[in-house]
């Protein structure tokens, strides 16, 4: 599903933010990306989402080599990857449902079908009563849920989220994570970057820990810590048994 092979990422001539990153994520996994601020968590997610190109190395997502993908083909891959960035990037000049309709308009779906799918997505995140409300009138948690609805409305195979529970109270954060877990249960590969180790431990089946100069994969070293409450893919279990860790930079 996702495969990184010796991936480097740096901006300009500076020191690489990520260096020699090699890992595989199988379909249906729920991966938690941990690490301090500035370690490169967001960059990793952007690389997976095809929002940034790698400086070196190869990235394969959903059967496509991102580094070899033409700029014309890139948008079609993005439709298979639902992205929720730290800043929700909602459009405040239109209603909640219009925000969710945008990814469907991009694919040219029939308006009637698009509307019913957008309503279903809003219902899934518990916002069906707010479809005509503008994002500015929604709470922080509701805005996050709206961003999730927009990310999942196109039924992506992969869902990536950058700090989706940051600045939310614990109850709201749990509700948000429950939504992610629901999607993961139906086979959507989910990768979430967060600072909240305790919360993530409840939901994720695998963890990547990024620290300056170091990358650790729980599937190789500490899978047991994050294996609660999730379906652990066979490949992950095999990798976990190998007990290998990778140190980078």
């Amino acid at each position: 599903m996702i495969e990184f092979q010796h991936v480097y990422k740096s901006y300009g001539q500076g020191r690489p933010i990520l260096a020699n990153l090699t890992f595989k994520v199988s379909a249906g996994e729920f991966v938690y990306v941990a690490g301090p601020s500035g370690a490169g968590k967001s960059t990793l997610l952007k690389l997976i989402g095809g929002l940034e190109p790698p400086s070196r190395g190869s990235i394969q997502v959903h059967g496509h080599r991102l580094d070899q993908l033409s700029s014309r083909a890139r948008p079609y891959l993005r439709r298979a990857v639902g992205v929720i960035l730290q800043d929700t990037h909602l459009l405040y000049d239109r209603s909640a449902i219009d925000n969710v309709l945008l990814p469907l308009a991009v694919t040219g779906l029939a308006p009637g079908l698009a509307r019913s799918r957008a309503r279903a997505a809003l219902e899934k995140v518990g916002l069906s009563s707010k479809e005509n409300t503008r994002p500015i009138e929604l709470s922080g948690g509701e805005q996050q849920r709206l961003a999730i609805a927009r990310a999942i409305v196109n039924r992506p195979a992969i869902l990536i989220a950058d700090e989706p529970t940051a600045s939310l109270d614990i109850d709201t954060a749990r509700k948000i994570m429950a939504v992610f877990k629901d999607f993961n249960r139906v086979g959507v590969t989910t990768i979430i970057a967060s600072h909240d180790d305790t919360l993530m431990a409840e939901y994720a089946t695998r963890a990547f820990k990024i620290e300056p100069g170091k990358f650790a994969d729980s599937a190789h070293e500490q899978a047991h810590t994050y294996s609660k409450g999730g379906v652990q893919p066979q490949e992950q279990q095999t990798q976990a048994r190998s007990g290998r860790s990778e140190h980078l930079r």
Partner: protein
Amino acid sequence: MKSLLRQHRYALAVTLRRLAAAPISSLTNLLVIALALSLPLLGASLLVSMQPVARQVSVTPELTVFLKIDAPKTAAEQVATRIRKEHVEQVAGVRIVTKDRALTELRSNPAWEQALKVLPSNPLPDAIVVSLTPGEQLAERADKLAQVWRKWPGVDLVQLDTAWVQRLEALLRFGRIGLLLLALSVALVVLATVFNTVRMQALSQREEIGVARLVGATESFVRRPFLYLGSVTCSLAALIGIGIARLALIPLNEALASLARSYDTEFALSLPPTEMLAIAVAAVAVLGALSARWSVQRNTKF
């Protein structure tokens, strides 16, 4: 195919929503482009209306055949008869001006009177003034006849009086070139206005463009509403421009009518034919779309 049509419908809806979201700005842009477009339309109206008038202008092009100074007295009559006989279809009238009559006419001019008194004899030749029948390519016909007559015995010089034709042609050429330059200037105004409008829109829609790309929008999807914006703005502006030109023609025609009446004739300016106007609207719409494409390519690279 259906999906593409839906995307176009979406782009058009987005365009209209963006236009409606900033009504004052949209109207101002429309008016600026419409006013600019109304100028060449008025110029075209003038040229289109002048063409039949130019054709109706009653002119009697003349050629003057001067005989040699020592030609016999009967020579003028012989040449005049030959002209009448050999070029009957092209000649409207032939008039002989004898050297004595020419001298008399010249003497009646006080400026020449003293100078002529000192001359021992009449220095003027006999002349035949030939009027041509009006029609197409007058200048060319007159030139050919002059070349033939110059070779006849007794003929010294044929003076081709085509200045009036040259003046008229120069005037029309000036009008056409002027209109072309005006149209080019207006095209530049349209290009600049649409370019800037789309640039401002692209900057203000930065967030929406970013989100659209995030959810998998192709560059065509992102750019399409801007192309529609340029095209729709220019089409509407062209239609308003036609309306403005039509309105402007009302007082102009009233003023022209009273001027024409004083010459005992009728004259009115009218807009070019509908087909020409439809082509102009389509051309302006294409121009708007091209300008928008140029602008959006430059201003959405983020």
